[in-house]
Each structure stands twice: as C-alpha cells, then as structure tokens.
Symmetry: C2
C-alpha cells in the first residue's frame, strides 16, 4: 500500500516531536507500506521569518517571500530524514523543485498544476521513506512558490493524487472531525466518516481540521483522507466519497457555527436587472468575500438585499455600500455585527423531507428568531441573533439525534 502522511506544525514543533513522527512513520513502513511524508514548518518558524521580512519592508516582494519562508519546511524535511536514518531507516528529503510539484507563478498563493512522480517512485523503489516539504512548489521558470497558509494539506493531497496513493493521512492536533464544536456542545461526537461535500459545507468545523482547498482537490481526484491526531491513538475520521460510506446514512452529520460574520442589508432597492451585480461587483473590487446572500421576493417594485461578510471586512463593506446605495436607488443600508450563522449539514437531507421545517421548529421552540435563511443541497443555514448561537447549536445537535451518550470529557 502507498500512503501519504502529513504532519502539521505542532506535530513537528521540536526535536522530540520530530522523533515521534519518525517513529509513527516507521510503524507503517514496517507493515510493508510505501510511505511519503509531508511536513510543515516547525510551529512558529513561518511567523518568525515573516516578522523578519516585515521589519525590512511593509510589503516585501512576493517572489522573495516564497524563497524565504519555504526554508521552514525545508529545515523540517531534513531533520525528519536525519531522524529516520538515526533510527535505522533509509530516508531522503525531496524538495518541491526536486519532486517537481509544478505550480503557477502566483507567489504566496500558488496553485498546483502538476505533480511529477518519477523521482519519488525511484526513491520508494530503493526502499526509502520519502520526506517532502509541504507548502512549496516550483513554477515553470524554476522559481520557488508557496501555496498559502495551510498549503501543506494541499501538498499531501496533491501528492496522493499524483502518485495514485491508497490513502492520505493528515495528522493534526485533534483526533478527527466532530458533529459540532466540542467547546460549545459537550455531547459532540467524532464522526467515523464524512463525505467530501459535507466536509466542504461544514466550513466552520472542517476548516479547523483540513484546509478547504485540500478537500476540493481530494474530491476531484477521489483521494480518501484520514484525519488523525499525532498525539493520541485513535481511528480518526475518514473523509471520502459518498459511496465509500456506510449504507444507512444518518440524515444530518453535523452542526456548524460561525460567529465571525456581520450582516449588511441594502434596504428597498428597485427590483430590476443589474442592481445585484452593481452591489457585489463593488465588493469584489475591494477584495471582500461575501458568504451568505439573500434576496427576498419583491414587495411591489422594491426588494431588500442581505449579505454577510467577515467581521473584519464589515466596516469597509458598509462604507462601500453607503457609496453604492444612492446610485442603485436604495433607501438605506443597515449593518448588524451581532449575528451568528448556524448550519446543519448532511447528505441525508437530499432524500429526507421535513429537515428544514424541523430545524426551524427547534429554533422556534427555543425562542430564537431567524433573520435570514439560505440553503444548498446538503446544508441549511440560518442567520440568528448572536447571543442565541451556542444555545441553538446545542438544541439542533440534540434535536437531530447527534448527541453522544456520554458527555465529552474536558480536555
């Protein structure tokens, strides 16, 4: 079996942890597997390098920043290869440009275009454990590129796809994907399996565990990802294609929760073509990412357009809307920072009716007013008043039968 393993920054934080990773790796190797290990920079190292550069320049050159910060993963790769050799296993580090992990030339946020497999297969054939630094690639001109924050997950999945690996294991500091945030709901359960689509929709839960981009890539190339803890034993959560999951689906897999958004409503805009385009073009020109968009059926010739954005963008977005509003004939712009977005996610809702009404009933029963609703095929999101956030999570988690029998121990 060919397995790609990825260890994040906290898993390789110091020499002791790196030695621990080496031991975990050889356990697999001893079971006659071929292993490719992807490593992040030691925790704190990337920030240390960024800080030095920012002492020199407010906006340091993108290309040179990639030359600089890619050294973090390079150091960990060499140290892990040294550790593996020290405990008697043959290992070799293969850097991004040696693999080659080919990317476009968007320094700092490059996208992988190709993963060559000859070099890694040649080393595996010699019986070696191959160590690859995450986060880095090389463009067609031979420049070092990096994939952006959390890019090591993407490296691991891309390698697994390119090498046609049987499994991609992501080791992190949590032991899997949970039905909801255990900090909010002490009856949250670890899921044994979750589909790519559910993982993508469960952004607020999932993003803490796996970078969204890596899940998209895994879905595209059908790479099974096993999320596990590098610190405690456990079976983890398998992120995989729907049909690899157990036959009898639970309807709802998880309750997701986001308190970091603000809501803006453009009130009484004329209900005619081109208005929404004007509003959202103005936002995208300012590089503001919009999450939920709700437009209701019009009252006569007018309607309201509501959207949510990250709280950090709220002030900027509000200012832009105040400028845009008169031009599109809107009455006024309202902003609300005091919101929470609650979502239930599950493949099962495609074949089960009454999920939405059940969600609304549960919220109503707790006295929670719903300010906006959006739905996708496998997700229903409600914007509610922020103070009800945790309450709503617990009520929905219980109401949809997700509660564990035992209360989750405090960490």
């Amino acid at each position: 079996m060919l397995v790609v393993q990825k260890y994040g920054g906290t898993s390789v934080r110091d020499i002791e942890r790196i030695m621990n990773v080496a031991k975990k790796t050889v356990e697999y190797k001893n079971k006659d597997n071929d292993i490719v290990v992807v490593v992040s920079a030691m925790a704190g190292e990337t920030d240390r390098l960024l800080n030095i550069a920012h002492e020199i320049a407010k906006f340091p050159d993108d290309r040179e920043m990639d030359v600089l910060i890619s050294t973090g993963e390079q150091v960990t790769s060499a140290l892990l290869a040294i550790s593996l050799k020290e405990i008697g296993y043959d290992a070799v580090s293969v850097l991004g440009y040696q693999v080659r992990i080919v990317t476009d030339s968007s320094f700092g946020k490059a996208r992988i275009t190709d993963v060559e497999k000859e070099k890694i297969f040649a080393e595996l054939k010699k019986g070696k454990i191959v160590v690859v630094p995450g986060f880095q690639g090389v463009d067609e001109d031979g420049n070092i590129t990096t994939l952006g924050r959390g890019g090591s997950d993407t490296t691991a999945v891309a390698l697994a796809a390119g090498l046609n690996a049987d499994l991609c294991e992501i080791y992190t500091d949590v032991d899997g994907v949970y039905t909801t945030d255990p900090n909010i709901c002490n009856r949250a359960r670890r899921l044994d399996t979750i589909s790519y689509d559910e993982m993508l929709e469960m952004a607020s839960l999932g993003a803490k565990v796996l970078q969204t981009r890596s899940v998209e890539l895994a879905k595209k190339y059908n790479v099974p990802i096993l999320v596990k803890s590098s610190l405690v034993e456990g079976i983890g959560t398998l992120v995989c294609k729907e049909d690899m999951m157990s036959m009898e689906q639970v309807v709802i897999s998880g309750v997701s929760y986001n308190k970091n958004e603000a809501k803006i409503t453009v009130v009484n805009v004329p209900d005619k073509p081109g208005i929404a385009a004007k509003i959202f073009t103005a936002l995208s020109d300012a590089n503001i990412v919009v999450d939920v968009i709700v437009q209701n059926v019009s009252r006569g010739d007018f309607t309201d357009i509501t959207f949510t954005i990250a709280k950090t963008d709220a002030k900027k977005a509000y200012k832009i809307m105040e400028e845009v509003a008169p031009g599109v004939g809107a009455e006024k712009v309202n902003i609300d920072n005091d919101i929470a977005k609650i979502s239930i996610v599950g493949l099962g809702m495609r074949s089960h009716s009454g999920i939405a009404s059940k969600m609304f009933s549960i919220l109503a029963h707790e006295g929670v007013n719903i300010e906006a609703i959006t739905t996708s095929e496998i997700k229903i999101s409600c914007v509610i008043e922020s103070k009800y956030g945790e309450l709503a999570v617990r009520a929905l988690h219980k109401g949809f039968g997700l509660d564990a029998e035992d209360v989750k121990e405090e960490k």
Copy 2:
C-alpha cells in the same frame, strides 16, 4: 563593469547590517555597474542549525545536512533581495540550483565543477541586482550540496570566474591583508596589493581573511580579488596576478606566524627508501594533515625525520608514531608542543639573494634558536621555541623594513 561582491556572516548578522549591505550594493549599481552579490548565512545561523541536527544524531546524514544548512544562505539572499527592492532597486535571488552552480556529490565539502551563466546574465540584462547564496551548489542529480566552511568566498570567486567578472570584492570584518598580525606587531601595515602566491603562502595571515581554496581558484582563473571591510571605508587589499602589481617589488610582503602546531621528531631512522612513505602513510590514514616536513642529510646510515602537525592532532600523531617507530627501525620519537612557526613571504626573494641569511641573523641577534627550517620559492619558515614567537615576528617585521611609520591604533 561586472562586479561580484561577497558579504560574510558578520556583515549580514542582523537586519540593520543587511540594509547596510543593500546600500553599499546600490552605490556600485548607481555607477553603472552590473552587480552579483554573494551572501553568507546570518552570523550564528549555521551553528544553530548544526546544533539542532546534532541533538538528533551524532553523525547526521551528510546529504540531509546540506539540505538543512543551505537554508541559512537562502534566508539571507531573500532578505537582501527584499531590502534592495525596498530601497527602490530591482533585485532577484538566484539559488545554487537555479544558477546552476554545479558541484561533485561530496556533501558537506563539495567542489565546484561548473558555473552556468545564462540565468544570471538574463537577470542582469533586465537591470536587476542578482543575489546568490554562498556556500551552496547542486550536483548532477539535482541534490543540494555545500562547499564546506568558508565556502562563500569560493562561491564568489567561482561566479566571478564563470561570469568573467572584472572584479571580485570580498567584504569582511577587517580592512585588508596586513604585513603581519597587528595584535602582535603594532607597526603592521595594510598591503595595497598582494600576489595570489604570497597570499597562499601567508596562510596564518591570509586564512583569517580569505579561504585558501578561493585564492587557489582566483589564481587559476586570474580573478582579481579586492578584500575590504564592510564596516569602515577604505581601499582594501587587491589580491592579484604578479604582473598587475607595482613594478618595483618590495622583497618581503609579510611575516606570518603560527602557534597552533606541535613538532614530532622520529629519531635515528635508517636512511633507506620507503621509510618516509611508511611514516606519512600512517598519518594520512588517520586523516592527520602534516605541515612542515624536514629530513636532514644522514649521519652515516641514519637520519632524523621531523614534522609539524596541528596541536589538536598531536597526541594522536604521537601515538601512531610510537606504533610505527619500531617497524621502521627508529630509535625513539620526540614530541614538542612548545613551538612556533615564523615565516617570511615575498615574491622578491626569488630575485634577491641573502634573504635567508638575513632572516637567520635577525633571529640570532635576538637570541632565538632555530629548530628547523623549510623553504619554498617565496617563503622561508623557521620553527622556533614558542616563547620567542612574538619577539621574532616584531624583529623580522622591522628588520625587513615592513614597519609602518606610525604605530597602529588600538581597535
């Protein structure tokens, strides 16, 4: 004019110094020169990385060590390129494998076999200042290699040779090459020029300033090297071909001094073929480098063989000689740790007679006994009692007319 500049670890020790290097570089650029800058790792960084690796393994893998420690120069290169851009000059870092600086595969002590020039010329043509990390190269299989301690000097000279540069400037923490060690003789003078051969022979003075290997390379490809201080203004010392120097040669260029050797004498060995070979093969098998070797004409069928080695090897060498001595029919082995080696170096001695006798007279006049003598074409070395070392340096410096008129200021 195309100039290669090299800045050592203390010259790029922190952000302030790196910015300072950037400023020095653009001064040249503004004079319409093409500039390639070679940088070392920030002072202390290489040792930091070595220490981490040695915490993991007593003998870490050579290949992976090069992957690890080459990051030090990579970081400095990126930071200098960022600094140059920050002050408004276009710059680009080009790593060893991007240049490509091709080496053999002797990890940790690789030798340069080829320097490709296309990439650097292409960047210079775009008007960019090119920053190249010293110390690192790439072998034919694409593995990262390093050149050994002080390798950045060699990188700079190799680049200057490969690019056919007009000048190679080495910036360091001293302002040039001196006639002798100013710490011993306060009338030591900075030399304006020195020939490659003199520089090579003046090991104890020169090696503190330039790596011997880089001087050999400069001589082979006739690259003029200008040694300057990165901290204070000055004209430095030009290391160059003999015929570039002023017509009227001084006879002696400098007095060199070494207190870090020990002397071993194998007493009364039979004067027949193969004996010396046996002795020195035993030493080289143990990786002991021998400096001076003296064998006198035989007394009848017997002779003494004297040699010097680094003090750190003295114990080991003595033990080996005690084992070898009976087999070669020697009477006994003597060791003396209390020696100093004093050398006078100068191209002029080839055409001037009486230099050796003058040296011996000066020493005799000071009551210094000479224990061994060796000579090359442009150097005469005497082994003397260690306690007379500094006295001998000052006497020879004065006797050969090297004294400055003014006493060198205390630093």
